[in-house]
Protein backbone atom coordinates (compact mmCIF):
# COMPACT_ATOMS: atom_id res chain seq x y z
CA UNK A 1 0.00 0.00 0.00
CA UNK A 2 2.76 2.41 0.98
CA UNK A 3 4.33 1.90 -2.44
CA UNK A 4 1.36 3.83 -3.85
CA UNK A 5 2.57 6.94 -2.07
CA UNK A 6 6.02 7.74 -3.48
CA UNK A 7 8.22 10.19 -1.61
CA UNK A 8 10.87 12.56 -2.95
CA UNK A 9 13.78 13.83 -0.83
CA UNK A 10 15.53 16.95 -2.16
CA UNK A 11 18.78 17.97 -0.46
CA UNK A 12 22.18 19.09 -1.71
CA UNK A 13 23.93 16.85 0.84
CA UNK A 14 24.24 13.29 -0.43
CA UNK A 15 24.39 11.89 3.07
CA UNK A 16 21.06 13.49 3.89
CA UNK A 17 19.39 12.09 0.76
CA UNK A 18 20.88 8.65 1.27
CA UNK A 19 20.10 8.31 4.95
CA UNK A 20 16.61 9.78 4.77
CA UNK A 21 15.85 7.66 1.70
CA UNK A 22 17.08 4.53 3.46
CA UNK A 23 15.05 5.28 6.57
CA UNK A 24 11.82 5.80 4.61
CA UNK A 25 12.44 2.72 2.44
CA UNK A 26 12.60 0.65 5.63
CA UNK A 27 9.07 1.87 6.21
CA UNK A 28 8.02 0.45 2.85
CA UNK A 29 7.88 3.64 0.77
CA UNK A 30 9.18 4.11 -2.72
CA UNK A 31 11.73 6.91 -2.28
CA UNK A 32 13.60 8.95 -4.88
CA UNK A 33 16.24 11.52 -4.08
CA UNK A 34 17.48 14.64 -5.86
CA UNK A 35 20.55 16.72 -5.07
CA UNK A 36 19.13 19.97 -6.46
CA UNK A 37 15.93 21.70 -7.49
CA UNK A 38 16.39 21.06 -11.20
CA UNK A 39 16.74 17.31 -10.72
CA UNK A 40 13.76 17.36 -8.35
CA UNK A 41 11.60 18.93 -11.05
CA UNK A 42 12.65 16.37 -13.64
CA UNK A 43 11.70 13.58 -11.22
CA UNK A 44 8.42 15.29 -10.30
CA UNK A 45 7.47 15.47 -13.97
CA UNK A 46 7.76 11.69 -14.23
CA UNK A 47 6.33 10.64 -10.87
CA UNK A 48 3.30 11.78 -8.90
CA UNK A 49 4.92 12.18 -5.48
CA UNK A 50 2.66 12.19 -2.45
CA UNK A 51 5.21 13.90 -0.23
CA UNK A 52 8.33 15.91 -1.05
CA UNK A 53 10.90 16.69 1.65
CA UNK A 54 12.72 19.79 0.42
CA UNK A 55 15.78 21.32 2.10
CA UNK A 56 15.36 25.05 2.53
CA UNK A 57 18.97 25.99 1.85
CA UNK A 58 20.57 24.61 -1.28
CA UNK A 59 23.59 26.53 -2.59
CA UNK A 60 23.59 27.55 -6.27
CA UNK A 61 20.46 27.25 -8.42
CA UNK A 62 17.03 27.06 -6.88
CA UNK A 63 16.59 27.26 -3.14
CA UNK A 64 14.02 25.25 -1.21
CA UNK A 65 11.15 27.73 -1.54
CA UNK A 66 11.65 28.10 -5.31
CA UNK A 67 11.90 24.34 -5.70
CA UNK A 68 8.73 23.92 -3.68
CA UNK A 69 6.84 26.43 -5.83
CA UNK A 70 7.98 24.76 -9.04
CA UNK A 71 7.05 21.30 -7.76
CA UNK A 72 3.64 22.68 -6.81
CA UNK A 73 3.20 23.96 -10.34
CA UNK A 74 3.81 20.45 -11.71
CA UNK A 75 2.20 18.48 -8.88
CA UNK A 76 -0.35 20.65 -7.08
CA UNK A 77 -1.49 17.69 -4.99
CA UNK A 78 1.97 16.92 -3.55
CA UNK A 79 2.48 17.77 0.13
CA UNK A 80 5.74 19.62 0.64
CA UNK A 81 7.67 19.45 3.88
CA UNK A 82 10.38 22.08 4.16
CA UNK A 83 13.46 20.97 6.06
CA UNK A 84 15.84 23.39 7.65
CA UNK A 85 18.79 23.23 10.01
CA UNK A 86 18.01 26.61 11.52
CA UNK A 87 14.63 27.41 12.95
CA UNK A 88 13.75 30.97 12.11
CA UNK A 89 10.24 32.29 12.33
CA UNK A 90 10.58 34.32 9.14
CA UNK A 91 11.51 31.43 6.89
CA UNK A 92 8.90 29.21 8.49
CA UNK A 93 6.22 31.81 7.80
CA UNK A 94 7.43 32.29 4.24
CA UNK A 95 7.50 28.53 3.59
CA UNK A 96 3.99 28.06 4.92
CA UNK A 97 2.72 31.09 2.98
CA UNK A 98 4.11 29.70 -0.24
CA UNK A 99 2.26 26.47 0.33
CA UNK A 100 4.44 24.16 2.40
CA UNK A 101 2.33 21.72 4.35
CA UNK A 102 4.86 21.39 7.17
CA UNK A 103 8.13 22.88 8.28
CA UNK A 104 10.57 20.78 10.26
CA UNK A 105 13.91 21.47 11.84
CA UNK A 106 16.58 18.81 11.44
CA UNK A 107 17.54 16.77 13.25
CA UNK A 108 14.13 15.80 14.48
CA UNK A 109 12.88 12.97 16.57
CA UNK A 110 12.16 9.80 14.54
CA UNK A 111 8.73 9.61 16.14
CA UNK A 112 7.89 13.13 15.02
CA UNK A 113 8.69 12.44 11.39
CA UNK A 114 7.01 9.06 11.37
CA UNK A 115 3.81 10.61 12.74
CA UNK A 116 4.05 13.51 10.31
CA UNK A 117 4.27 11.19 7.31
CA UNK A 118 1.43 8.97 8.46
CA UNK A 119 -0.74 12.01 9.25
CA UNK A 120 -0.22 13.45 5.76
CA UNK A 121 -0.87 10.10 4.10
CA UNK A 122 -4.02 9.55 6.15
CA UNK A 123 -5.30 12.86 4.83
CA UNK A 124 -4.29 11.93 1.28
CA UNK A 125 -6.11 8.60 1.52
CA UNK A 126 -9.24 10.41 2.66
CA UNK A 127 -8.88 12.94 -0.13
CA UNK A 128 -8.49 10.28 -2.80
CA UNK A 129 -11.38 8.30 -1.33
CA UNK A 130 -13.44 11.45 -1.39
CA UNK A 131 -12.51 12.12 -5.01
CA UNK A 132 -13.50 8.57 -5.98
CA UNK A 133 -16.83 8.85 -4.18
CA UNK A 134 -17.51 12.24 -5.74
CA UNK A 135 -16.82 10.80 -9.17
CA UNK A 136 -19.18 7.91 -8.43
CA UNK A 137 -21.82 10.35 -7.28
CA UNK A 138 -21.38 12.54 -10.34
CA UNK A 139 -21.69 9.48 -12.54
CA UNK A 140 -25.06 8.77 -10.91
CA UNK A 141 -26.42 11.97 -12.32
CA UNK A 142 -24.91 12.04 -15.76
CA UNK A 143 -27.17 13.00 -18.60
CA UNK A 144 -26.75 9.58 -20.07
CA UNK A 145 -28.51 8.23 -16.99
CA UNK A 146 -31.72 9.98 -17.89
CA UNK A 147 -33.35 7.16 -19.78
CA UNK A 148 -35.14 8.30 -22.88
CA UNK A 149 -35.46 8.05 -26.62
CA UNK A 150 -38.13 10.70 -26.80
CA UNK A 151 -37.00 13.57 -29.04
CA UNK A 152 -38.42 16.23 -26.74
CA UNK A 153 -36.56 14.76 -23.77
CA UNK A 154 -33.46 14.67 -25.98
CA UNK A 155 -33.81 18.40 -26.60
CA UNK A 156 -34.26 19.00 -22.89
CA UNK A 157 -31.09 17.06 -22.08
CA UNK A 158 -29.15 19.03 -24.67
CA UNK A 159 -30.49 22.23 -23.10
CA UNK A 160 -29.42 21.13 -19.62
CA UNK A 161 -25.90 20.54 -20.99
CA UNK A 162 -25.86 24.01 -22.53
CA UNK A 163 -26.93 25.75 -19.35
CA UNK A 164 -25.01 23.55 -16.89
CA UNK A 165 -22.09 25.90 -16.42
CA UNK A 166 -24.08 29.14 -16.43
CA UNK A 167 -25.24 30.82 -13.25
CA UNK A 168 -28.65 31.62 -14.75
CA UNK A 169 -31.69 30.51 -12.84
CA UNK A 170 -33.50 27.50 -14.24
CA UNK A 171 -37.21 26.86 -13.79
CA UNK A 172 -38.28 23.26 -14.25
CA UNK A 173 -41.96 22.63 -14.81
CA UNK A 174 -43.63 19.28 -14.90
CA UNK A 175 -46.21 17.10 -13.26
CA UNK A 176 -45.35 15.23 -10.10
CA UNK A 177 -43.05 12.30 -10.73
CA UNK A 178 -41.71 13.47 -14.08
CA UNK A 179 -38.15 13.71 -12.74
CA UNK A 180 -37.72 17.41 -12.00
CA UNK A 181 -35.13 16.77 -9.29
CA UNK A 182 -33.25 14.32 -11.52
CA UNK A 183 -32.96 16.99 -14.22
CA UNK A 184 -31.90 19.58 -11.62
CA UNK A 185 -29.17 17.21 -10.43
CA UNK A 186 -28.10 16.58 -14.02
CA UNK A 187 -27.73 20.35 -14.54
CA UNK A 188 -25.73 20.73 -11.33
CA UNK A 189 -23.46 17.72 -11.77
CA UNK A 190 -22.57 18.47 -15.39
CA UNK A 191 -21.59 22.06 -14.72
CA UNK A 192 -18.64 23.76 -13.11
CA UNK A 193 -20.35 23.64 -9.72
CA UNK A 194 -20.38 19.84 -9.62
CA UNK A 195 -17.74 19.72 -6.87
CA UNK A 196 -19.76 22.08 -4.71
CA UNK A 197 -22.94 21.32 -2.74
CA UNK A 198 -26.33 20.56 -4.27
CA UNK A 199 -28.92 21.42 -1.66
CA UNK A 200 -32.62 20.54 -1.95
CA UNK A 201 -35.41 22.40 -0.20
CA UNK A 202 -38.99 21.29 -0.56
CA UNK A 203 -40.91 24.52 -0.17
CA UNK A 204 -44.34 22.91 0.21
CA UNK A 205 -43.36 20.74 3.15
CA UNK A 206 -42.69 23.64 5.54
CA UNK A 207 -44.66 26.49 7.04
CA UNK A 208 -43.68 30.06 6.15
CA UNK A 209 -41.59 30.76 9.26
CA UNK A 210 -39.90 27.37 9.20
CA UNK A 211 -39.07 27.75 5.52
CA UNK A 212 -37.70 31.23 6.16
CA UNK A 213 -35.24 30.01 8.80
CA UNK A 214 -34.50 26.92 6.70
CA UNK A 215 -33.53 29.09 3.72
CA UNK A 216 -31.80 32.00 5.41
CA UNK A 217 -30.66 30.53 8.74
CA UNK A 218 -31.00 32.40 12.00
CA UNK A 219 -29.00 34.15 14.65
CA UNK A 220 -28.79 33.05 18.24
CA UNK A 221 -31.80 34.41 20.12
CA UNK A 222 -33.79 35.19 16.95
CA UNK A 223 -36.71 33.26 18.42
CA UNK A 224 -37.46 30.92 21.30
CA UNK A 225 -35.27 27.88 20.95
CA UNK A 226 -32.66 29.55 18.71
CA UNK A 227 -29.79 28.60 20.98
CA UNK A 228 -27.05 29.06 18.45
CA UNK A 229 -26.44 30.64 15.08
CA UNK A 230 -27.55 28.27 12.34
CA UNK A 231 -26.68 28.57 8.67
CA UNK A 232 -29.51 28.39 6.18
CA UNK A 233 -29.62 26.43 2.94
CA UNK A 234 -28.49 29.47 0.96
CA UNK A 235 -25.24 29.57 2.92
CA UNK A 236 -24.81 25.79 2.84
CA UNK A 237 -25.21 25.86 -0.93
CA UNK A 238 -22.61 28.62 -1.34
CA UNK A 239 -20.63 28.02 -4.51
CA UNK A 240 -23.08 25.33 -5.55
CA UNK A 241 -26.74 24.95 -6.41
CA UNK A 242 -29.91 25.41 -4.38
CA UNK A 243 -32.85 23.41 -5.69
CA UNK A 244 -36.15 24.92 -4.59
CA UNK A 245 -38.81 22.30 -5.17
CA UNK A 246 -42.50 23.29 -5.27
CA UNK A 247 -41.59 26.97 -5.62
CA UNK A 248 -45.19 27.79 -6.55
CA UNK A 249 -46.20 27.14 -2.97
CA UNK A 250 -44.21 29.81 -1.15
CA UNK A 251 -45.92 32.67 0.68
CA UNK A 252 -45.97 36.28 -0.60
CA UNK A 253 -43.48 37.34 2.10
CA UNK A 254 -40.99 34.67 1.14
CA UNK A 255 -41.53 35.51 -2.52
CA UNK A 256 -40.37 39.04 -1.70
CA UNK A 257 -37.36 37.76 0.30
CA UNK A 258 -36.38 35.36 -2.42
CA UNK A 259 -36.62 38.06 -5.06
CA UNK A 260 -34.19 40.17 -3.07
CA UNK A 261 -31.64 37.35 -2.81
CA UNK A 262 -31.93 36.64 -6.51
CA UNK A 263 -31.35 40.29 -7.33
CA UNK A 264 -28.62 41.11 -4.86
CA UNK A 265 -27.12 37.75 -3.93
CA UNK A 266 -27.23 38.89 -0.31
CA UNK A 267 -29.60 38.40 2.60
CA UNK A 268 -29.95 38.65 6.35
CA UNK A 269 -30.25 35.64 8.61
CA UNK A 270 -33.48 35.65 10.64
CA UNK A 271 -32.82 38.02 13.54
CA UNK A 272 -29.54 39.09 11.98
CA UNK A 273 -28.18 42.56 11.31
CA UNK A 274 -25.25 41.63 9.12
CA UNK A 275 -25.69 40.87 5.45
CA UNK A 276 -24.48 37.53 4.18
CA UNK A 277 -23.20 37.34 0.61
CA UNK A 278 -23.55 34.13 -1.35
CA UNK A 279 -22.83 32.76 -4.78
CA UNK A 280 -25.62 30.28 -5.35
CA UNK A 281 -27.23 29.05 -8.51
CA UNK A 282 -30.97 28.60 -8.16
CA UNK A 283 -32.89 25.84 -9.84
CA UNK A 284 -36.59 26.01 -9.04
CA UNK A 285 -39.26 23.46 -9.83
CA UNK A 286 -43.01 23.48 -9.78
CA UNK A 287 -45.93 21.41 -10.95
CA UNK A 288 -48.07 24.51 -11.18
CA UNK A 289 -48.52 26.81 -14.13
CA UNK A 290 -46.71 29.79 -12.67
CA UNK A 291 -47.85 32.14 -15.43
CA UNK A 292 -51.42 31.39 -14.42
CA UNK A 293 -50.52 31.86 -10.75
CA UNK A 294 -49.11 35.27 -11.68
CA UNK A 295 -52.24 36.08 -13.61
CA UNK A 296 -54.39 35.13 -10.63
CA UNK A 297 -52.25 37.27 -8.31
CA UNK A 298 -50.87 34.39 -6.28
CA UNK A 299 -47.28 34.66 -7.49
CA UNK A 300 -45.20 37.80 -7.90
CA UNK A 301 -44.65 38.66 -11.52
CA UNK A 302 -41.13 40.05 -10.91
CA UNK A 303 -40.09 36.87 -9.13
CA UNK A 304 -41.58 34.79 -11.91
CA UNK A 305 -39.42 36.54 -14.51
CA UNK A 306 -36.35 36.24 -12.27
CA UNK A 307 -36.86 32.51 -11.95
CA UNK A 308 -37.96 31.86 -15.48
CA UNK A 309 -34.66 32.76 -17.16
CA UNK A 310 -34.30 29.28 -18.61
CA UNK A 311 -37.45 27.23 -18.63
CA UNK A 312 -37.50 23.47 -18.91
CA UNK A 313 -40.89 21.82 -19.24
CA UNK A 314 -40.77 18.11 -18.61
CA UNK A 315 -43.33 16.05 -20.52
CA UNK A 316 -45.61 13.71 -18.61
CA UNK A 317 -44.89 10.02 -19.03
CA UNK A 318 -48.05 9.55 -21.12
CA UNK A 319 -46.57 12.07 -23.59
CA UNK A 320 -43.45 9.92 -24.01
CA UNK A 321 -44.90 6.42 -24.04
CA UNK A 322 -41.98 5.15 -26.13
CA UNK A 323 -39.83 5.51 -23.01
CA UNK A 324 -42.02 3.23 -20.90
CA UNK A 325 -40.35 -0.06 -22.03
CA UNK A 326 -36.86 1.41 -21.48
CA UNK A 327 -37.74 2.77 -18.06
CA UNK A 328 -39.54 -0.44 -17.09
CA UNK A 329 -36.53 -2.57 -18.03
CA UNK A 330 -34.24 -0.22 -16.14
CA UNK A 331 -36.38 -0.34 -13.00
CA UNK A 332 -36.70 -4.14 -13.19
CA UNK A 333 -32.92 -4.53 -13.24
CA UNK A 334 -32.28 -1.88 -10.65
CA UNK A 335 -35.03 -2.78 -8.16
CA UNK A 336 -34.66 -6.56 -8.41
CA UNK A 337 -30.96 -6.37 -7.62
CA UNK A 338 -31.59 -3.83 -4.82
CA UNK A 339 -34.26 -6.08 -3.28
CA UNK A 340 -32.23 -9.22 -3.92
CA UNK A 341 -35.03 -10.70 -6.05
CA UNK A 342 -34.21 -12.87 -9.00
CA UNK A 343 -36.38 -11.18 -11.63
CA UNK A 344 -34.70 -11.05 -14.99
CA UNK A 345 -37.07 -9.06 -17.15
CA UNK A 346 -40.53 -8.12 -18.23
CA UNK A 347 -42.67 -9.80 -20.89
CA UNK A 348 -43.95 -8.11 -24.06
CA UNK A 349 -47.55 -8.60 -22.93
CA UNK A 350 -46.82 -6.90 -19.61
CA UNK A 351 -45.14 -4.00 -21.42
CA UNK A 352 -48.29 -3.55 -23.49
CA UNK A 353 -50.28 -3.08 -20.30
CA UNK A 354 -47.78 -0.55 -19.01
CA UNK A 355 -47.74 1.38 -22.31
CA UNK A 356 -51.54 1.56 -22.36
CA UNK A 357 -51.82 2.91 -18.83
CA UNK A 358 -52.02 6.69 -18.34
CA UNK A 359 -49.54 7.11 -15.47
CA UNK A 360 -50.99 10.07 -13.57
CA UNK A 361 -48.03 9.74 -11.17
CA UNK A 362 -45.56 9.56 -14.06
CA UNK A 363 -42.13 7.91 -13.73
CA UNK A 364 -42.37 7.76 -9.94
CA UNK A 365 -45.60 5.80 -10.23
CA UNK A 366 -44.04 3.48 -12.82
CA UNK A 367 -41.16 2.82 -10.45
CA UNK A 368 -43.55 2.03 -7.59
CA UNK A 369 -45.67 -0.22 -9.79
CA UNK A 370 -42.62 -2.19 -10.91
CA UNK A 371 -41.40 -2.50 -7.34
CA UNK A 372 -44.78 -3.86 -6.23
CA UNK A 373 -44.80 -6.32 -9.13
CA UNK A 374 -41.27 -7.53 -8.31
CA UNK A 375 -42.19 -8.06 -4.67
CA UNK A 376 -45.23 -10.18 -5.55
CA UNK A 377 -43.75 -11.89 -8.63
CA UNK A 378 -43.59 -15.67 -8.26
CA UNK A 379 -41.38 -16.52 -11.22
CA UNK A 380 -38.32 -14.92 -12.72
CA UNK A 381 -40.16 -12.78 -15.29
CA UNK A 382 -42.75 -10.04 -14.83
CA UNK A 383 -45.82 -10.92 -16.87
CA UNK A 384 -49.25 -9.52 -17.63
CA UNK A 385 -50.93 -11.01 -14.53
CA UNK A 386 -48.40 -9.23 -12.32
CA UNK A 387 -49.99 -5.98 -13.46
CA UNK A 388 -53.63 -7.09 -13.54
CA UNK A 389 -54.48 -4.83 -10.61
CA UNK A 390 -53.20 -1.91 -12.65
CA UNK A 391 -55.56 -2.75 -15.48
CA UNK A 392 -58.45 -2.97 -13.06
CA UNK A 393 -57.63 0.49 -11.75
CA UNK A 394 -57.42 1.79 -15.27
CA UNK A 395 -60.72 0.20 -16.30
CA UNK A 396 -62.52 1.28 -13.17
CA UNK A 397 -61.35 4.82 -13.69
CA UNK A 398 -62.66 4.76 -17.24
CA UNK A 399 -66.07 3.50 -16.17
CA UNK A 400 -66.28 5.77 -13.19
CA UNK A 401 -69.29 8.00 -13.06
CA UNK A 402 -68.16 11.52 -12.30
CA UNK A 403 -70.30 13.27 -9.68
CA UNK A 404 -71.50 16.75 -10.47
CA UNK A 405 -69.26 18.74 -8.11
CA UNK A 406 -66.49 21.35 -8.52
CA UNK A 407 -63.08 19.99 -9.47
CA UNK A 408 -61.57 20.99 -6.13
CA UNK A 409 -64.23 19.03 -4.28
CA UNK A 410 -63.45 16.04 -6.44
CA UNK A 411 -59.80 16.29 -5.51
CA UNK A 412 -60.63 16.73 -1.83
CA UNK A 413 -62.78 13.58 -1.89
CA UNK A 414 -60.08 11.61 -3.66
CA UNK A 415 -57.55 12.62 -1.00
CA UNK A 416 -59.86 11.79 1.89
CA UNK A 417 -60.64 8.42 0.29
CA UNK A 418 -56.94 7.63 -0.27
CA UNK A 419 -56.10 8.54 3.31
CA UNK A 420 -58.91 6.34 4.59
CA UNK A 421 -57.76 3.43 2.43
CA UNK A 422 -54.21 3.83 3.69
CA UNK A 423 -55.31 4.30 7.32
CA UNK A 424 -53.95 7.83 7.47
CA UNK A 425 -50.49 6.94 6.13
CA UNK A 426 -49.55 10.02 4.12
CA UNK A 427 -46.66 8.38 2.32
CA UNK A 428 -48.77 5.49 1.06
CA UNK A 429 -51.69 7.77 0.27
CA UNK A 430 -49.46 10.06 -1.78
CA UNK A 431 -48.10 7.06 -3.71
CA UNK A 432 -51.62 5.83 -4.37
CA UNK A 433 -52.63 9.29 -5.57
CA UNK A 434 -49.55 9.50 -7.76
CA UNK A 435 -48.32 12.74 -6.20
CA UNK A 436 -45.42 13.32 -3.91
CA UNK A 437 -45.69 13.73 -0.21
CA UNK A 438 -45.05 17.45 -0.14
CA UNK A 439 -47.80 18.05 -2.69
CA UNK A 440 -50.19 15.99 -0.61
CA UNK A 441 -49.32 17.99 2.51
CA UNK A 442 -49.97 21.13 0.58
CA UNK A 443 -53.36 19.88 -0.57
CA UNK A 444 -54.23 18.79 2.97
CA UNK A 445 -53.50 22.33 4.06
CA UNK A 446 -55.48 23.83 1.20
CA UNK A 447 -58.57 21.67 1.71
CA UNK A 448 -58.17 21.86 5.48
CA UNK A 449 -58.33 18.10 5.75
CA UNK A 450 -57.46 16.89 9.24
CA UNK A 451 -56.05 13.41 9.19
Amino acid sequence: MKKNWPILVVDDEDVMCESMGAWLREDGYHVDTASNGQKALELAKAMDYAICFVDLKMPGGMDGIETMMEIHRIRPEASIIIITAYATVDTAIQAMKEGAQEYIVKPCNPQEISMLVSRILKLKKLQSENAILRKKLNRQYRHSDVITKNPRMGEILALTQDVASLRSTVLIRGESGTGKELVARAVHFSGNRAEKPFIVVSCAALTETLLESELFGYEKGAFTGANAQVKGKFELANGGTLFLDEIGDISPKLQADLLRVLQERRFYRVGGTQEVEVDVRIIAATNKDLAEEVHDGRFREDLYYRLNVIEIRLPALRERREDIPLLAEHFVQHISSALGRDVSGISAAALKVLIAYDWPGNVRELENVIERAIVTCRNGMLDEPDFSWLQKNAVSSQNWEVPDVPLGELERRAIVAALERKHGNVKEASTALGIDRSTLYDKLKRYEIVH
Binding site: M16, M20, W23, E26, I113
Partner: protein, 183 residues
Protein backbone atom coordinates in the same frame (compact mmCIF):
# COMPACT_ATOMS: atom_id res chain seq x y z
CA UNK B 1 28.13 -16.85 -0.47
CA UNK B 2 29.76 -16.95 2.85
CA UNK B 3 27.11 -16.44 5.49
CA UNK B 4 26.51 -13.67 7.93
CA UNK B 5 29.48 -11.67 9.18
CA UNK B 6 29.42 -10.04 12.62
CA UNK B 7 31.80 -7.20 13.35
CA UNK B 8 32.27 -4.97 16.37
CA UNK B 9 32.87 -1.28 15.60
CA UNK B 10 34.80 0.22 18.50
CA UNK B 11 34.48 -1.43 21.88
CA UNK B 12 31.23 -3.24 22.63
CA UNK B 13 30.06 -5.08 25.80
CA UNK B 14 31.99 -8.33 26.25
CA UNK B 15 29.23 -10.82 25.48
CA UNK B 16 27.17 -8.75 23.05
CA UNK B 17 28.40 -10.65 20.01
CA UNK B 18 27.55 -13.98 21.72
CA UNK B 19 23.96 -12.84 22.29
CA UNK B 20 23.72 -11.73 18.70
CA UNK B 21 25.09 -15.01 17.42
CA UNK B 22 22.48 -16.92 19.47
CA UNK B 23 19.73 -14.81 17.88
CA UNK B 24 20.98 -15.07 14.30
CA UNK B 25 21.51 -18.82 14.64
CA UNK B 26 17.90 -19.20 15.77
CA UNK B 27 16.33 -17.19 12.94
CA UNK B 28 18.57 -17.30 9.88
CA UNK B 29 19.78 -20.46 8.14
CA UNK B 30 23.16 -18.85 7.44
CA UNK B 31 26.47 -19.66 9.08
CA UNK B 32 27.58 -16.76 11.28
CA UNK B 33 31.22 -15.81 11.55
CA UNK B 34 32.96 -13.03 13.38
CA UNK B 35 35.30 -10.60 11.69
CA UNK B 36 38.12 -8.81 13.50
CA UNK B 37 36.83 -5.66 15.23
CA UNK B 38 37.01 -2.36 13.35
CA UNK B 39 37.74 1.00 14.84
CA UNK B 40 35.19 3.79 14.52
CA UNK B 41 35.92 5.84 11.38
CA UNK B 42 36.85 9.39 12.39
CA UNK B 43 34.71 10.76 9.52
CA UNK B 44 31.61 9.36 11.25
CA UNK B 45 31.93 11.65 14.27
CA UNK B 46 29.70 14.72 14.29
CA UNK B 47 31.31 16.97 16.86
CA UNK B 48 28.40 19.39 16.94
CA UNK B 49 25.91 16.68 17.79
CA UNK B 50 28.38 14.47 19.66
CA UNK B 51 26.97 11.54 17.74
CA UNK B 52 28.12 9.26 14.92
CA UNK B 53 26.71 9.28 11.41
CA UNK B 54 25.46 5.81 10.61
CA UNK B 55 25.95 6.34 6.87
CA UNK B 56 29.72 6.60 7.40
CA UNK B 57 29.70 3.43 9.50
CA UNK B 58 27.82 1.60 6.76
CA UNK B 59 30.20 2.86 4.08
CA UNK B 60 33.13 1.51 6.07
CA UNK B 61 31.40 -1.86 6.52
CA UNK B 62 30.79 -2.06 2.79
CA UNK B 63 34.47 -1.41 2.10
CA UNK B 64 35.86 -3.75 4.74
CA UNK B 65 33.46 -6.66 4.35
CA UNK B 66 34.64 -9.87 2.65
CA UNK B 67 33.38 -9.96 -0.93
CA UNK B 68 31.65 -13.26 -0.41
CA UNK B 69 29.69 -12.21 2.69
CA UNK B 70 25.92 -12.56 2.35
CA UNK B 71 25.18 -10.04 5.12
CA UNK B 72 27.45 -7.86 7.28
CA UNK B 73 26.15 -6.66 10.63
CA UNK B 74 28.16 -3.99 12.43
CA UNK B 75 27.64 -3.61 16.18
CA UNK B 76 28.62 -0.45 18.01
CA UNK B 77 28.15 1.06 21.43
CA UNK B 78 28.19 4.68 20.25
CA UNK B 79 25.11 6.80 19.55
CA UNK B 80 24.09 6.75 15.89
CA UNK B 81 22.24 9.41 13.94
CA UNK B 82 21.55 10.66 10.44
CA UNK B 83 21.32 14.34 9.49
CA UNK B 84 17.52 14.30 9.50
CA UNK B 85 16.96 12.32 12.69
CA UNK B 86 18.13 12.95 16.24
CA UNK B 87 19.10 9.31 16.76
CA UNK B 88 18.80 5.77 15.40
CA UNK B 89 18.74 2.39 17.10
CA UNK B 90 20.22 0.98 13.92
CA UNK B 91 20.11 1.22 10.16
CA UNK B 92 20.13 -1.22 7.26
CA UNK B 93 20.38 -1.23 3.50
CA UNK B 94 16.89 -2.23 2.47
CA UNK B 95 17.21 -5.57 0.68
CA UNK B 96 21.00 -5.12 0.71
CA UNK B 97 23.96 -6.67 2.54
CA UNK B 98 24.89 -4.03 5.18
CA UNK B 99 23.33 -3.25 8.57
CA UNK B 100 24.47 -1.56 11.74
CA UNK B 101 23.04 -1.71 15.27
CA UNK B 102 23.83 0.66 18.11
CA UNK B 103 23.60 -0.58 21.68
CA UNK B 104 24.02 2.95 23.10
CA UNK B 105 20.33 3.64 23.71
CA UNK B 106 19.57 0.04 24.64
CA UNK B 107 21.46 0.37 27.95
CA UNK B 108 19.32 1.27 30.96
CA UNK B 109 22.18 3.59 32.00
CA UNK B 110 21.41 5.82 29.01
CA UNK B 111 18.11 6.67 30.70
CA UNK B 112 19.76 7.20 34.11
CA UNK B 113 18.73 3.78 35.42
CA UNK B 114 20.84 0.98 36.94
CA UNK B 115 22.24 -1.50 34.40
CA UNK B 116 20.18 -4.58 33.57
CA UNK B 117 22.11 -7.06 31.47
CA UNK B 118 19.13 -9.26 30.68
CA UNK B 119 17.16 -6.34 29.36
CA UNK B 120 20.14 -5.22 27.27
CA UNK B 121 20.39 -8.73 25.82
CA UNK B 122 16.69 -8.79 24.91
CA UNK B 123 16.77 -5.33 23.35
CA UNK B 124 19.91 -6.19 21.37
CA UNK B 125 18.26 -9.33 20.00
CA UNK B 126 15.17 -7.37 18.93
CA UNK B 127 17.18 -4.69 17.14
CA UNK B 128 19.36 -7.28 15.40
CA UNK B 129 16.25 -9.08 14.13
CA UNK B 130 14.83 -5.73 13.03
CA UNK B 131 17.84 -4.51 11.03
CA UNK B 132 18.66 -7.89 9.51
CA UNK B 133 14.97 -8.24 8.62
CA UNK B 134 15.32 -5.06 6.50
CA UNK B 135 18.34 -6.54 4.70
CA UNK B 136 16.12 -9.48 3.75
CA UNK B 137 13.45 -7.16 2.34
CA UNK B 138 11.09 -6.88 5.31
CA UNK B 139 9.48 -3.46 5.83
CA UNK B 140 8.03 -2.07 9.06
CA UNK B 141 5.21 -4.15 10.47
CA UNK B 142 1.99 -2.76 11.95
CA UNK B 143 2.00 -5.42 14.70
CA UNK B 144 3.66 -3.62 17.62
CA UNK B 145 4.84 -6.93 19.12
CA UNK B 146 6.68 -7.95 15.93
CA UNK B 147 10.44 -7.34 15.77
CA UNK B 148 9.81 -5.48 12.48
CA UNK B 149 7.57 -2.80 14.02
CA UNK B 150 9.06 0.67 13.95
CA UNK B 151 10.42 1.69 17.37
CA UNK B 152 11.01 5.41 17.71
CA UNK B 153 11.70 5.26 21.45
CA UNK B 154 12.86 2.62 23.91
CA UNK B 155 9.38 1.81 25.27
CA UNK B 156 8.42 0.66 21.77
CA UNK B 157 11.50 -1.58 21.66
CA UNK B 158 10.41 -3.10 24.96
CA UNK B 159 6.89 -3.64 23.63
CA UNK B 160 8.23 -5.92 20.88
CA UNK B 161 8.80 -9.65 21.28
CA UNK B 162 12.16 -11.22 20.44
CA UNK B 163 10.59 -12.65 17.32
CA UNK B 164 8.89 -11.88 14.01
CA UNK B 165 5.12 -11.99 13.74
CA UNK B 166 3.64 -14.86 11.69
CA UNK B 167 3.37 -12.73 8.56
CA UNK B 168 6.94 -11.38 8.63
CA UNK B 169 8.30 -14.79 9.67
CA UNK B 170 6.53 -16.46 6.76
CA UNK B 171 7.87 -13.87 4.35
CA UNK B 172 11.38 -14.54 5.61
CA UNK B 173 11.00 -18.31 5.28
CA UNK B 174 9.60 -17.83 1.79
CA UNK B 175 12.63 -15.75 0.95
CA UNK B 176 15.04 -18.46 2.13
CA UNK B 177 13.21 -21.24 0.39
CA UNK B 178 12.55 -19.62 -2.95
CA UNK B 179 15.04 -16.83 -3.50
CA UNK B 180 18.71 -16.50 -4.14
CA UNK B 181 19.76 -16.71 -0.47
CA UNK B 182 22.22 -19.56 -0.06
CA UNK B 183 22.67 -21.49 3.11
Amino acid sequence: MNGLCLVAIGSVPANALDWIEDTTAEWFPLPTRRLPPLSIPPSAYDAKRRQYQSVEMMKMLAQQAPRDASRVLGVTDVDLAIPMLSFLFGQAQFDGPIAVVSLCRLHQEFYGLPPQENLLRERTAKEVLHELGHTFGLVHCSDSTCAMSLATHIELVDAKAEQYCARCGTQLVHRFTTREETL
